[in-house]
Symmetry: C2
Subunit: 116 residues, 2 copies
DNA sequence: GATTTTGTTTGCCATATGGTGAACCTTTGT
DNA sequence: ACAAAGGTTCACCATATGGCAAACAAAATC
C-alpha cells in the first residue's frame, strides 16, 4: 500500500472513494458489523475489507472484534481535521476576496470624487 | 487517468496529495502562474503539470493561458462542496451522539427514582 | 460434532498514479 | 534573426489501487 505521509493525505485519500464515503455515511448513524456494512455493495468481501482497512489506517474509523464479528465505528476527530483544513482554505480565500471588494469599492469612491 | 465518477471523488482525490494541497493553499492567497506555483517543489515541470491537471479536472482550480504564461486560481465552489459533505457527516454523527447522551441521562434519572 | 456464519489471508490481475528525461512549441526579449 | 522563458507533449518506469477466486479460521448454531 502507499506510504501516506500525513494524516490529511490518508484521510482525503480514503474519502476519495464512493464506497468508503458511503461506509462513513452509514457509520455516522450507528456502529455496525462488517457484514451489514458490506451488504449494499456489489463487491466481494475481500475487496470490501481492503476499503475498511484504508478507512481504519486513515484514522477515520476504528474497529473491534468481539467473537466472530468485527464492529466498526466512526472516529470523528480525523473527519474534523479534514473539515478544518477545508474551512481554513475557504477562510483564506474569503479574506482575500473581501480585501479585493474593499479595494474596488475604494477605487469607485475616488472615481466619484474625481467626477464631482 | 482514472475515471472519477462524482465531483466529490475527484475533489477528495485531488486533495489527497500534499503537493496539490500546497498549491491550493498558495492559490487561496492570490492567483499565480505555473512557474511560480511549481517553484517550491522538487519535481520536474511535467510532473507538476500533471498535478495541476488533476486539480483542474477536479474543478478545484481554473486556469487560463495568456501569451506564454498560464494563470491558475482557486474555484471555491468545489472546495465548499467537499467541506459541506464533511460537515454534514459530522452533523449526523453529532445528532446521534446527542441522542445517546439524552438516553443515558434519562436512564440515570430513572435509576435515581428507583433508588428513592 | 458437523455446519453455517463471519471474517481473513493469499495469489493474481488490469489499470491508475506520480515520477523521469528529452524533444518541442509559442511568446517575449535582445 | 536569435536566444531565452514558460509550457507542453511524449515515451517510459515503478509502485499503488481495486477488484477477483479460492482456501482457511474461528465462533455460533443445530
Amino acid at each position: 500500500m502507499e506510504n501516506h505521509r500525513t494524516p490529511l493525505d490518508a484521510a482525503f485519500h480514503a474519502l476519495s472513494d464512493p464506497t468508503r464515503r458511503a461506509v462513513i455515511s452509514r457509520l455516522t448513524k450507528s456502529p455496525a458489523p462488517v457484514k451489514e456494512l458490506a451488504e449494499p455493495f456489489d463487491i466481494g468481501l475481500p475487496a470490501f475489507l481492503k476499503h475498511l482497512r484504508v478507512l481504519e489506517e486513515s484514522g477515520l474509523i476504528t474497529t473491534e472484534k468481539t467473537g466472530r464479528t468485527r464492529t466498526c465505528q466512526v472516529k470523528i476527530g480525523r473527519l474534523a481535521e479534514a473539515e478544518s483544513w477545508l474551512s481554513e482554505q475557504r477562510a483564506l480565500w474569503q479574506a482575500r476576496t473581501d480585501r479585493l471588494a474593499d479595494y474596488v469599492e475604494t477605487q469607485m469612491s475616488r472615481d466619484n470624487e474625481n467626477d464631482g
